[in-house]
Symmetry: C2
DNA sequence: CTATCGGTGGCACTGGGTGTCAAGTAGTGC
DNA sequence: GCACTACTTGACACCCAGTGCCACCGATAG
């Protein structure tokens, strides 16, 4: 029995089909708008059947959101790899930078990523799915933060809120991402966003009975 | 021509129909789960036609989310009514308390609100719509915060992020809302959540060139 | 050559959501 | 009583997203 994650011929063929569908979908959706493109339009452009599309993507939203989410899955492992003594704001800033750095590695990929970000932020249905995905990251980041500070994630609100603030910073950067921005400008936006939340991220542990 | 917001007989009849649909929907959805109940089930329980349901609610999600969102619409006016000299953390805490206070005014309403909150947090589709609604509040809160501090919301990330942190605090409270909690316990949760974000909310204005 | 296995397409079906139209129900003026 | 108007409702047809099912096809193993 072959694993699903190996590099066999079958697996590469699957990846090829997925890429073809994704490219056709992103091209159509970005140009014509999300709700003006049907799945039939996408599969017609990709030369495949409607049924095949749903074997590779759970929904029409999924093909868009996953394009960004896949590159963002490494933020948790990056946070876990940061030195334990590092202040939370610094560790989180490095972790959240991973997906942006991945985008900037290839300029043409970066440009398409920016267009997809715009599409997501401007389409309510996509924005909702995007936030839904962020909820998962928030939970995982919170678990890692709780582990770092030896806090109980069920009684202490800090880990979950710190993770939420970090993702809020990412959201702010994406919101302000302009067409001409290079990697350095993106880094500046990131620094500005984290400068806002850093006082809360790095604040000493609050007294539990603050009421 | 009559206004849509007046208290005419026709308007009260409309409200009656909307309440009937909402009650039937919430009862079914909360007990059987969101995706195990069809719109046909709801309208059958309410004794109305499928078409009528969609005249009163934009979607199956809408009937659930609006139940909470309607009581939460006043947070912006409350923020605008707070004294200008008040620190952002205090003003926002008071604004975000409005919907929770509205819930606690009537215990039986509060109990149903808690059940609906659970339903939303546990149903991905509903959670996504809920966050989507929060984005609107964030934008309005950000505008009000920018107005308070004489900041340009297009160049300064603070207003939008401060609004996001406040909503993050609300989310944290809702997440930790337990069956037996009275108003005082809810206030404590709120204080704990705002204690985490307060250092960022009330931090002095950062230098624009923080990169 | 055949059995099997993974991928594919066709097809029917459920369910959310919309446009349209005929019918019913008030209120108003005559 | 009658016509006119405004508003609401239900029924029907329709579009589209998403799923279950089955037949088919190509590659590979025996």
């Amino acid at each position: 029995m072959r694993s699903r994650a190996d590099n066999s011929l079958a697996e590469r063929k699957r990846q090829l089909v997925a890429d073809e569908l994704r490219d056709a979908a992103l091209m159509l959706l970005a140009t014509k708008g999300f709700d003006l493109v049907t799945v039939d339009d996408i599969v017609a452009a990709a030369g495949m059947s409607r049924r095949t599309f749903f074997r590779y993507f759970a929904s029409k939203e999924d093909v868009v959101v996953r394009f960004l989410a896949d590159t963002s899955a490494d933020i948790i492992t990056e946070l876990a790899a940061r030195p334990p003594a590092e202040p939370p704001s610094v560790a989180l800033r490095h972790a959240l930078w991973v997906p942006l750095a991945a985008c900037n590695d290839h300029p043409e990929h970066s440009e398409r990523a920016r267009v997809v970000v715009r599409l997501i932020l401007d389409t309510p249905a996509l924005h909702a799915r995007w936030l839904e995905r962020q909820i998962e990251w928030r939970t995982e980041l919170a678990a890692e933060l709780a582990n770092r500070r030896r806090l109980d994630p069920h009684t202490d609100p800090y880990p979950r809120m710190a993770a939420g603030m970090a993702l809020l910073a990412l959201d702010t950067v994406l919101q302000r991402w302009q067409p001409g921005d290079d990697e350095q400008h993106l880094a500046e936006l990131m620094d500005q966003a984290f400068a806002v939340v850093a006082p809360a991220l790095d604040a000493p542990a609050a007294s539990p009975a603050a009421g």
